[in-house]
């Protein structure tokens, strides 16, 4: 079986996987980091979004072996101890979540947006969220959360 090594949230990790093991399975089942969710099997919902070498990607559509040697950040890697990341804080302040299932992917996707396009307009924010589906909120409060984080990040 192939062995993979990568940096996850700043820590060097490695493990044995099958060729077919998805990155999200490696995170959840090998590393027991269950913050990254799986919401679909069609690569459309975005609940599984993590950062790989600084870009947001769907960890359900990436083989663990493809992520060998990369630097991965998951939702668990955002907060600084007890201090939430400004994007997490913004989701809390603005009621940007209800059931919370989509939230890890939403937050990771949103952080990538604000890093790349800090002044994104409301329209650009909505377009960016094309790959993140939320069944609860109706998106308005998610957009508001991201707009707050644009000021605080």
């Amino acid at each position: 079986m192939p062995t993979v090594s990568m940096t996850v949230n700043g820590k060097q990790v490695s493990g044995e996987v099958e060729g077919r093991t998805l990155l999200v399975q490696f995170l959840r089942e090998n590393l027991h980091m269950t913050g990254t969710h799986v919401g679909c099997d069609t690569s459309q919902c975005g609940a599984c979004v993590v950062h790989v070498n600084g870009d947001s990607m769907k960890s359900c559509t990436l083989l663990a072996v493809q992520a060998d040697g990369t630097d991965v950040t998951t939702i668990e890697g955002l907060a600084d101890g007890d201090t939430l990341h400004p994007m997490q804080e913004a989701f809390r302040d603005n009621h940007g979540l209800q059931c919370g299932f989509c939230t890890p992917g939403m937050v990771m996707s949103a952080v990538d947006l604000v890093k790349k396009n800090p002044k994104a307009s409301e329209h650009e924010i909505r377009e960016w969220l094309e790959g993140n589906i939320c069944r609860c909120t109706g998106y308005h409060n998610i957009v508001k959360s991201i707009q707050q984080a644009q000021q605080t990040m």
């Binding site: 060729g19 077919r20 099997d41 990607m57 083989l63 072996v65 790959g131």
Partner: protein, 265 residues
């Protein structure tokens, strides 16, 4: 997903060798099409040859009037390339409208054209701009490359290495996207080139991407939205599904063609 043997070569030569040494191997590029297919057990390759480690397959270069994009260049890299934005803005815009940001961060131009999904965007750009597709063995014109639904002229194990686009005088792509998947319900790429106008349609054809000769000759003499106004594609050659009837797609082709010509200016 069925299991497979995984290979990560670092050169084109090693990748071709790994692929030809496999019983029933397949290349994986961004995996945005292949991994979902494997997850649904719609394919069972014996070996996966990952092109992600092949540095010589990445990058964009502009020389004279030609923009060359190597196969493993992601949609995001094309969309954000200032060189592509300057040389062929329609191509950068097309890449920026594929799927969603996370799909664009992984999906590649080589994977997109090798897959030739009938609703994919890049095939329309290749055909309308008269691109040349370079493989590890030969060079093919886009007209010869796309041969049918999910079918190309690629032979078993042949690899797309790069795609060269001649700079048009003007061009634009207009896509009417399926609101759920973001694939094209109908997409029209119109280009005014030194040797006349070219119009390619994706999302609609029963055999995948196709050109519209009647629109091309009308636009070659009169480059204006009005020139294609009365020209309709026969609905009998178009596909119908739960998203749109063939008649609706035929209607949209004319509408999108007019919008593309207007957008190109």
């Amino acid at each position: 997903m069925y299991d497979f043997a995984y290979h990560k070569p670092s050169s084109v030569a090693d990748a071709v060798a790994a692929r030809s040494g496999a019983e029933d191997g397949t290349y994986v590029a961004g995996g945005m099409t292949l991994v979902p297919t494997l997850k649904q057990r719609l394919a069972q390759p014996s070996d996966l040859v990952d092109l992600g480690g092949v540095g010589e397959l990445k990058g964009i270069s502009v020389s004279g009037n030609t923009v060359t994009i190597k196969a493993m260049t992601t949609h995001a890299a094309v969309a954000n390339s200032s060189e592509v934005q300057a040389a062929i803005p329609a191509l950068a815009a097309l890449a920026g409208g594929i799927g969603d940001p996370q799909v664009r961060n992984r999906g590649t131009i080589g994977g997109s054209i090798a897959n030739n999904d009938p609703a994919a965007d890049y095939p329309a750009a290749c055909l309308a701009l008269g691109a040349t597709i370079k493989t590890d063995k030969r060079e093919l014109s886009a007209d010869d490359f796309f041969t049918g639904l999910f079918e190309t002229a690629l032979e078993d194990g042949e690899m797309v290495v790069s795609i060269s686009f001649p700079k048009p005088e003007k061009a634009a792509y207009q896509k009417f996207d399926n609101p759920a998947s973001r694939y094209a319900l109908v997409g029209v790429f119109a280009a005014k080139t030194g040797s006349g106008a070219r119009v390619a349609v994706t999302g609609a054809g029963q055999d995948g991407v196709f050109r519209v000769p009647a629109m091309e000759s009308a636009l070659s003499t009169n480059w204006s939205a009005g020139a294609v106004d009365g020209i309709a594609v026969d609905a009998g050659t178009l596909n119908a599904d739960i998203h749109a009837s063939a008649e609706y797609r035929a209607h949209l082709i004319t509408v999108m063609a007019k919008r593309a010509v207007s957008a190109a200016g």
